[in-house]
Symmetry: C2
Subunit: 388 residues, 2 copies
Amino acid sequence: MAPARKLVMQPGPIEFSDSVLQAMATPSQSHMSPEFAQVFQETLIKTRSLFKSSNDSKSQPIVLAGSGTLGWDLVGSNLIDSPEEKILVLSTGFFSDSFAQCLQLYSDNVDILSAELGNVIDYSKLESHLKLKNYSIVTVTHVDTSTGVLSDIAKIASVVKKISPSTLIVVDAVCSAAVEDIEFDKWELDFVLSASQKAIGVPSGLSISIASKKVVDKVLARKSRAKNFFANLQRWIPVLVAYESGKPAYFATPPVQLVHALNVSLNSILSVPLDERFKENLKVSQDFKAKLGKLGLKVVPASGAETSALTAAYFPENINPAEFLSKVSSKGVELASGIHQGIHPKYFRVGHMGVSALDHTNGRDDVQKTYEAIKESLIELGYTVPTK
Amino acid sequence: MAPARKLVMQPGPIEFSDSVLQAMATPSQSHMSPEFAQVFQETLIKTRSLFKSSNDSKSQPIVLAGSGTLGWDLVGSNLIDSPEEKILVLSTGFFSDSFAQCLQLYSDNVDILSAELGNVIDYSKLESHLKLKNYSIVTVTHVDTSTGVLSDIAKIASVVKKISPSTLIVVDAVCSAAVEDIEFDKWELDFVLSASQKAIGVPSGLSISIASKKVVDKVLARKSRAKNFFANLQRWIPVLVAYESGKPAYFATPPVQLVHALNVSLNSILSVPLDERFKENLKVSQDFKAKLGKLGLKVVPASGAETSALTAAYFPENINPAEFLSKVSSKGVELASGIHQGIHPKYFRVGHMGVSALDHTNGRDDVQKTYEAIKESLIELGYTVPTK
């Protein structure tokens, strides 16, 4: 009766390591015990390292029960003081637009600067927007999971800093943290939000962020009524500061087992230099994309705008999306369907992050297995692979 | 180096069964797969049963990543339309007051009717409040974890229905679901919120609620701007309805492993009639309280107002709280300190829910072990146990 285990090769949740799954089964532990405080302390310190931030004078890591979506509310409810504030959302797909929808609950002045499908935003348009209006926040989705487009955060941050130095720079790193480079201190970012279930390699259920000192000071100084309770960083920051110093504190019960799992996954992620990890994942991604190219498939992102985290590729002509995904699934590999408005029936998405991309012990090669399932499925559906 | 495992006997997180912990380690599964949709479907149906609601024409179960605290925002942001609305919070302790603090973010008219310490509210005062103002919502904390006081929901609901039938009745069941009786349909409740880590017996990380048809209709008909994104039930209800019909849908990634764990725990909870479970836990609680009484300890709640979920007991004279808790902890049992304003250094709290109260396989008796640790610690700290 039990369905066979399938390889989860969608852009999140990804496959989890055995050690992370073991940590999920950590027996009960009091959230107020010194033992848990030590684990949470280690986890917060490593979360800061993941974003290449040096120390607590620069940044505050934030780990809460929730999801990537909750991170958008953290931004909206804590960084926007009044609905008059002007926000600029740089959009490279469905998830950027969803972030904008969230921010529209907190501001009446959310502008969206959209890139062309599959491409990064036009920097000259960004410059003219910044010159025209005084934006309090610019948001950018590092990897839009809907299109697989990688935005150049260093470049965008430098443009914003040059023209509008007081504007806060917010990065949605849900699908980029632990697979694409994020230099929180160096690029002078203000808020980066992520989640557990993508390249960070931990089951869904955690909202993982980092805030700059500037944001922390702004939040702690706020006198106006908070916009909600659970996502109120004025409540959480003192609790997180206490835990990072090794002392338990209470606002709402933290997800103890997920924090253990995050700690274990960050141990693994930080066991080699991050840049090596990114380089290795880039190679896996390039090889996979090249192989799909040889099959005659075209990827959604423009050349130079492809993330290492996933591949979004168009179906060949005459391939039925549902039939294809179901056939690949029957071969033991779960892919994701398209989600970006307008083109969603025309393409599919493959995640290649975490252990699936990087763990080759005992001959493991999830990405190769995925490629073979895709190729065989296409052939079985009548597709003729180009001979050259 | 690794600290020895301690029995977690605080009022949440509680001890988890092996089968629940195994479910926490469920290998990755797509949140959009038919396999997960089936598990989430089963889980939602059983969540409705937990609250003794009969079917989807009566109620909508809600399971989200979060915590008990997030449940307060679900109420505030979805059930309160305007800051002019009058809300009455019935308070039996710290957690009732915290719920009021959350609601004060959404309404300018939150009245608090506080019970005397350790007691339930005065019903004649409730009646006069309801006659004086037109409250849109009355909230009651079923078991205030700070005091161990059990409120009589049936009684309160009948008073509200009699005097102000249109008022929504909201119950905070964080520390009561699965240990105290909740008759959602029969008592005509409108919203009950809970969390995973107490009597429901699942690691922290889930917000678990149930909404009446009246609330669902109100939420779905709302035209005004939502107050936040993640906790917006207008977004979640269609997704939860889809999952309950066995079909995946997407708003934010659900916490797949925690949902599996909840499914497993609800299987166990619902394997015997709920009333038998409550009766058995009541007996465990009464025995434990009687034993503490024989030791000369006085409980915080008044006679008849004690919950089965936990025991809040005053220290004898000359016992130092920190020394006591640390001594009990050194005997392998974790208790919780007092938290209620004014008396918090004078008492401690013991949780006796879930497997710790009810699992006696292989001679297991967590509550007895806890009693012995308490007694020995008191004696070692110089306390003389009364001889009669």
